[in-house]
Amino acid sequence: MTEISPILALANVSKSFPGVRALNDVSFSLYPGEVTALIGENGAGKSTIVKILTGIYIPDGGEIRVNGATQHFSSPRDSWGAGIAAIHQETVMFDELSVAENIFMGHMPGGHLIDWRDTKAKARALLASIEADFDADAKLKTLSVAQKHMVEITRALSHDANVIIMDEPTASLSRHEIDELFRIVAQLKAEGRAIIFISHKFDEIFRLSDRFVCLRDGEKVGEGMTSDVSEPDLVRMMVGRPVDQVFPKRDIPLGPTVLEIDGLSNATEFADVSLKLRKGEILGLYGLVGAGRSEAMQAVFGMSKPTAGRVKMNGQELTIHEPIDAIHAGISYVPEDRQEQGAFLPLGIRENITMASLSTHVRNFLLSRRSEQSAARALGGRLSVKAAHWEQSLGELSGGNQQKVVIAKWLATKPKLIILDEPTKGIDVGSKAAVHDFIGELAEDGLAVILISSELPEIMGLSDRVIVMHEGRIAARFERGVGTGALAWSAEAIVAAATGAPIEERAA
């Protein structure tokens, strides 16, 4: 089949940012009517490729060829012009505007004057072609997440694109909605379009893709036909070593119960969440993005008010109004979004590290710089933060080092329980391994750890027990090496519980 010429080809594309080589000499081709899975860990360079193909980044070297002709994209318009459209990871759209306008924003029919009748008619036709069940006049903010996704797909179709990039399109969809999406993808394939499919879920990759391209640390480390490889092959390629060596599980004797949550609920986000956690134990909290895991744990931490339920630490019931109360009770929460929720970029490393434990550095009502400095040295050193000096502003450090500083801030509060929300999201492979090691160390030091993660290998590799949440409720509980059938300690069972499959269906 090699005589079919590719629609799109990347040849020796490279891209660097200050201090980071994001892409190094990457080449691959896309063929009509085929789905190519782009796989790799977070930070491997997938999103850099997406941004280059959509004209957001300009590559430092290499070429992009569309139907054999070399193209230079300096803006998203150029990329559309060449027939490339993307459905982005976060739905990047306009909540206050209509569906039709969201579909055509930036390329409204009719030149400088918008032809609304034409716009709406075209939008309706496109929506009908993927059998959408909402109107082009609806305001975007009235749609569900899945419906917004369909708007994104329609938006890609509106460019009459031959190449459609789907960046983790299923991350926040229910099982039924994913089936719907796959139906649309099959339809697009049949129409002879080429699709780049980015996903972390192997079942989807094998179900949907014809080819794969694997990236690691900005380099292509493998490509081929999906039918020729197995899941362990792909994991080995992505991670660079055999999968069973990735997460050395430490053997830690468990202590007394530290945390007890009983029937925690709030109005719309989670209901009846109960769990217990012992000293030295790592509890994995798994589920799809948007299953209510972070929301429930943030309520424990005092970021929001639960409507029912109790939280006990070391047998004592807590009244938590604000995070500071949780911190005083010995709870730490390392949030998911480092830039948005964790880091103070303009402030220095020392100031970041001491921010959640300032009261311990007060002497005679004033902050002691000396005491702060020794804390920065001790914790920054323990986490191997790489920096020129402790006063350097956090914004100047790499993502992995920023993450270390944020974790150091939490360790400085001397917690008994630490909740880690997606601690390895968006950091490179090297730092990731360090974080995994470190999580084991924390448990060894006698902390109780709750690990919220969407990466199944990470969850299974590190946790003693796994609790799976689905649509705001606990769907199943798993214990390492225990259980059979639907509750066996297996990837299949855990994923099935996360997607909300009924228990009898899972057992089959």
Partner: protein, 337 residues
């Protein structure tokens, strides 16, 4: 450089402090302000023999001390990404209350306490609205500005209040220290500047203000009581506007509804020129104090040269924009993003 033995040795050597470089010291915003201040003083001294006269300088401080006091708290508000456009209107309401109390024959202490109390009340109302509604403070305080100023207009119309005990007027019209001559308002400003400086740069809550300004969400996650601090800042803003009213009313001896009209913009100019970033998380009290002197002394010097007040405003507006634009242009020119 001393190194305590760390519990686990790090793979990297990290210094305690930034290496001291002359260039980074000179490029600090405060250093630039010092140079500006020096230029203003030298220029004015050369231009006018009256400039360096202690009594003239003391009188010059009258014109900016009340604003400068209010600028201190405005700096903290802007540092945490808030703004209070109603300060001048709060000053007017407080002044109104002082005026009424004066008319009713109350003594100096009652007048002062009334001014402070009414200001605090107005500020607390702002804080309540901002923290409870989640609406940006610029919108809330545009609303309360109209409301407060409206109250003074409704109460007084085109009348004025001017019955005050002499001991009250003395607060604003005599020197607090006779030699060197220091008016009360300027003395209070200096004391408060020290208090604010220590508070912002040396205390835990001061540090937390930087955190809120740099990243309000992360600040909440770090156990900082963000809403409580915001509420407190708006309340103190009201209190200091009340203090401004006490001093200003005593100085001019008459209360009209247009008292302090437009002051909010002058105060914000002082803060921004002082290097506090509108985007939050960056700024020093030292910078604000220097900016107060740069603005106050250049205004005074230009006035000595008989430049009309409104023209001075042009120059100050230009100074504001140029001082913000220049570092950006330099960064663009040297290619650092």
């Amino acid at each position: 450089m001393m190194h305590d033995p760390s519990p686990t040795p790090s793979r990297y050597t990290v210094e305690d402090r930034a290496p001291r470089k002359l260039s980074s010291f000179l490029l600090r915003w405060e250093s630039i302000l010092v140079m500006m201040l020096a230029t203003v003083i030298i220029g004015n001294t050369l231009k006018s023999p009256y400039f360096l006269d202690p009594f003239n300088l003391a009188d010059a401080t009258y014109n900016f001390s009340e604003k400068a006091i209010m600028a201190l708290i405005m700096a903290l508000l802007i540092l945490v990404r808030e703004i209070d456009l109603s300060v001048a209107a709060i000053l007017a309401v407080s002044s109104l209350a002082i005026g009424f109390m004066g008319d009713a024959g109350y003594g100096t202490l009652a007048l002062v306490l009334t001014g402070l109390f009414v200001g605090t009340l107005c500020g607390a109302f702002n804080g309540f609205l901002v923290t409870r509604s989640g609406v940006p403070s610029i919108v809330i305080t545009i609303g309360t500005m109209s409301l407060y100023r409206g109250i003074t207009q409704v109460s007084l119309g085109d009348q004025a209040l001017s019955t005050f005990p002499q001991s009250y007027l003395d607060l604003g019209q005599t020197y607090f220290i006779d030699w060197p001559p220091v008016p009360l308002s300027f003395f209070i400003f200096l004391v408060l500047a020290c208090v604010f400086g220590v508070f912002l740069h040396k205390t835990a809550i001061g540090r937390q203000l930087f955190a809120i300004g740099a990243n309000p969400v992360a600040a909440r996650f770090s156990g900082i009581r963000v809403d409580r601090i915001r509420f407190a800042l708006f309340t103190v803003s009201g209190l200091l506007a009340g203090l401004g009213a006490v001093l200003l009313t005593a100085r001019i001896g008459v209360m009209r509804p247009n008292i302090g009209l437009g002051w909010e913009l002058d105060i914000i100019t002082m803060v921004i020129l002082g290097g506090v970033a509108i985007s939050g998380g960056v700024g020093t009290i030292g910078g604000v104090v220097l900016a107060v002197f740069v603005l106050g002394l250049s205004t005074f010097g230009l006035a000595l040269m008989n430049v009309p007040g409104i023209v001075i405003n042009v120059l100050l507006g230009l100074l504001l924009i140029i001082s913000i634009a220049a570092p950006i242009l330099i960064r663009m020119a040297t290619g650092k993003r």
